[in-house]
């Protein structure tokens, strides 16, 4: 396993008390594999990724338990310098908003080249040549001329390509992409996802794709981990989950998407709201919104039951959910 997160816990000190953002998350990704981490805002999907990258704001954030194994080494036990060596060369991250992730007053070529100067000790001149190569590889037209341009001179799609180029620069084994196309229009989104898939195949990288978009997941992922209130509620190969979800939350999400190929009268809507992370409901955190909830759900936290080959569901009644005909 390239990356393995084991029983990770993260909390934040807030004015309203302690927000438990990540509550015992475990997932893994192999070389050449794409894992989609699906969840709504506040589900803990981005916080987990930040902990893996080592870019969590501490304080207010605090990792209170768990291990993050990268090629077998626990990253949480490494010194900051050692982690810096892994960031960029071992794993890299692509952010949602390229405009705020890039430095506005430094030409993009210099920002790309800096990777080579810092990590590979190259001269500025050689680094710039590599920057042009990279921009070419992510298909930015006229790369040699545009290497001196600033981020604001590029369109949203082109900026996201620059982010990808920067993440790819040192050919890391793992890329974490946090909502990489959410800010982009659909036609540009398709271009960027295509590029990412092509590069991932070419370099056999592991990819963790963090998203709320069930459509994007279906398009590119091998496996899915669905998160809710800081926990993984369902984990499965991509085909299985769309065919027959084993958790009522996943099922609700799938049913509430309006689909081009299915114009219904009323959409299924999950009732209620995602929980406040300072006051996560006892028992199964989804029980106040769950159409299947019973007494046991209000008291006992469901473990991640093994529900099939390589599949898990944190629902006491996963059998019913998996085989049941209706909500």
């Amino acid at each position: 396993m390239l990356l393995e997160v084991r029983e990770l816990y993260v909390e934040f000190a807030t004015r309203d008390g302690i927000a438990r953002a990540v509550n015992g998350v475990s997932y893994g990704v192999d070389e050449g594999e794409t894992l989609a981490v699906l969840g709504e805002s506040g589900s803990g999907k981005s916080v987990t990724a930040q902990a893996v990258m080592g870019i969590l704001d501490t304080p207010p954030g605090r990792i209170t338990g768990g291990e993050i194994l990268f090629r077998g080494r626990d990253l949480l036990r490494l010194k900051e310098e050692e982690r810096r060596g892994i960031r960029g060369a071992g794993m890299a991250m692509i952010f949602q908003d390229a405009l705020s992730a890039l430095n506005p007053v430094v030409p993009v070529g210099d920002q790309l080249g800096e990777m080579f100067v810092v990590h590979r000790g190259m001269s500025r001149k050689d680094a710039r040549a590599r920057a042009v190569e990279l921009m070419d590889r992510v298909r930015i037209p006229a790369a040699a001329q545009r290497v001196r341009d600033y981020p604001h001179q590029f369109s949203g799609g082109m900026r996201q390509r620059i982010m990808i180029a920067m993440a790819m620069a040192l050919e890391p084994a793992l890329i974490i992409a946090d909502e990489p196309t959410t800010a982009l229009d659909v036609t540009v989104q398709a271009q960027v996802m295509d590029l990412l898939a092509e590069l991932r195949r070419a370099y056999r990288m592991g990819l963790i794709l963090i998203t709320h978009d069930l459509g994007v997941v279906a398009d590119v992922a091998d496996r899915i981990a669905v998160m809710y209130a800081g926990r993984i509620v369902e984990s499965a190969p991509v085909h299985d989950i769309y065919k027959a979800p084993a958790h009522p939350y996943t099922r609700g999400l799938l049913d509430s998407v309006p689909r081009l190929d299915r114009k219904g009268r009323e959409l299924y809507a999950i009732k209620g709201l995602p929980p406040n992370l300072t006051h996560i409901p006892p028992g199964c955190p989804f029980h106040p919104r769950c159409p299947m909830a019973r007494d046991v759900c209000r008291t006992d936290v469901p473990p991640l039951y093994e529900v099939g080959a390589d599949r898990g569901s944190a629902c006491h009644f996963w059998r019913e959910c998996l085989h049941g005909p209706d909500h």
Binding site: P141, T187, Q189, A190, D213, A218, V238, L254, K263, L273
Partner: protein, 355 residues
């Protein structure tokens, strides 16, 4: 036209150009952002018109023009047959009661220092004739109830509500004056998927309950398909194709619509292999420098010489004129055709487009 079929809104030749100027003492106009560049449509009573398009296509500017938040450079907007484009003062105020807006971002479109009761009741301050003073509080409570909020929360502030609840507050405010037309600009795009469905269902229910006509603007094609009776696809300030939802989604003839639809990710991994996608090259050109002829030609895989010379009109293409099929709807393309069923992936154009 019989009064029963008379459209509520009739928009013709709508244009909005924002001038670009240079110089401090002698301001010269050096160009214009052609945000909306000749848009025509009608909205029937009780109907939902969906307007889709990517960022910068002018769909939000159309929304602002409809609500008189911006003055058009040219063209006219008729409300129940009356030209309201040039209205001002009292006459404008009277018309505005009937056309209300729901905004995209429920975090910035509600005043954080006002209580929910004051926000939803504010339209009555501006239009005192709509409800007598003693009545207003009661009406606000009713409105909160109608949109699925607890009327007891009338004294709370916006920050005490979640995104979905805030959007309900915005909808309640839009309904306060009992308008005939609601213009909703990306009303659910800031919301989580599970909450989106709740708000869409609410808007559906309210439409039936209050006999509303909607102009529903969104970039999410599946949301629009779900809610709209008719759909208009915009590109660079113009409608390039319009028709019923089935005509657009199943029988699109404009290459831009086809590319847009093919790019939407379908939540079905089984479809991954058989889905034919058209990946457009390049970016949308700047609205300050719109290509000659057909404005989509710089990204179109079908573009020929004629496309650079002649602006294609928004009409039923000659090939389909007189045919009864669903492909016979307005499409602004010289070479409009339905995509062959099955494999069209070879149409995909990769590589170095302009921009």
């Amino acid at each position: 036209m019989a009064p029963t079929t008379e459209p509520v809104l009739q928009v013709s030749g709508l244009v909005k150009h924002y001038p670009l100027t240079r110089g401090i003492l002698f301001r010269r106009q050096i160009g214009a952002v052609r945000a909306v560049d000749g848009v025509d449509f009608t909205l029937g009573r009780g109907e939902t018109l969906g307007i889709v398009g990517e960022s910068g296509c002018g769909k939000s500017t159309v929304a602002k023009l409809l609500c008189h938040l911006e003055r058009p450079t040219a063209g006219s907007i008729r409300f129940r047959g009356e030209d309201i484009t040039g209205l001002s003062g009292r006459a404008l105020k009277a018309v505005r009661r009937n056309i209300q807006m729901v905004f995209q971002d429920p975090y910035t479109s509600l005043n954080p220092r006002m209580t929910v009761g004051d926000i939803v009741g504010e339209p009555y301050e501006i239009h005192p004739e709509a409800a007598p003073k003693g009545e207003r509080r009661r009406r606000v409570r009713e409105l909160l109830d109608v949109v699925g909020l607890n009327p007891e929360h009338i004294n709370r502030y916006p920050h005490q509500f979640s995104g979905g609840q805030r959007q309900r507050i915005g909808i309640a405010r839009a309904l306060a004056l009992r308008p005939e037309v609601v213009v909703a600009d990306e009303p659910v795009s800031a919301l989580d998927v599970s909450v989106q469905a709740q708000v869409i269902n609410l808007m559906d229910r309210l439409q039936a309950e209050f006999a509303l006509s909607y102009v529903f603007i969104a970039h999410d094609l599946s949301v629009v398909r779900h809610i709209a009776d008719r759909v208009a696809v915009m590109y660079l300030g113009r409608i390039v194709e319009t028709g019923s939802d089935a005509e657009i989604y199943e029988h699109a003839t404009h290459p831009y619509t086809q590319a847009l639809l093919s790019a939407v990710p379908v939540p079905d991994p089984e479809a991954r292999a058989r889905r034919a996608r058209i990946i457009l090259s390049g970016d949308v050109p700047s609205p300050t420098d719109i290509p000659s002829g057909c404005r989509f030609r710089t990204r179109c895989w079908k573009a020929r010489e004629r496309c650079a010379l002649e602006v294609p009109p928004l009409a039923v293409p000659p090939a389909f004129r007189g045919t009864p099929g669903p492909a016979a709807h307005d499409s602004a393309c010289h070479f409009a055709e339905e995509l062959p069923a099955g494999d069209c992936a070879e149409l995909g154009v990769h590589g170095n487009g302009p921009g």
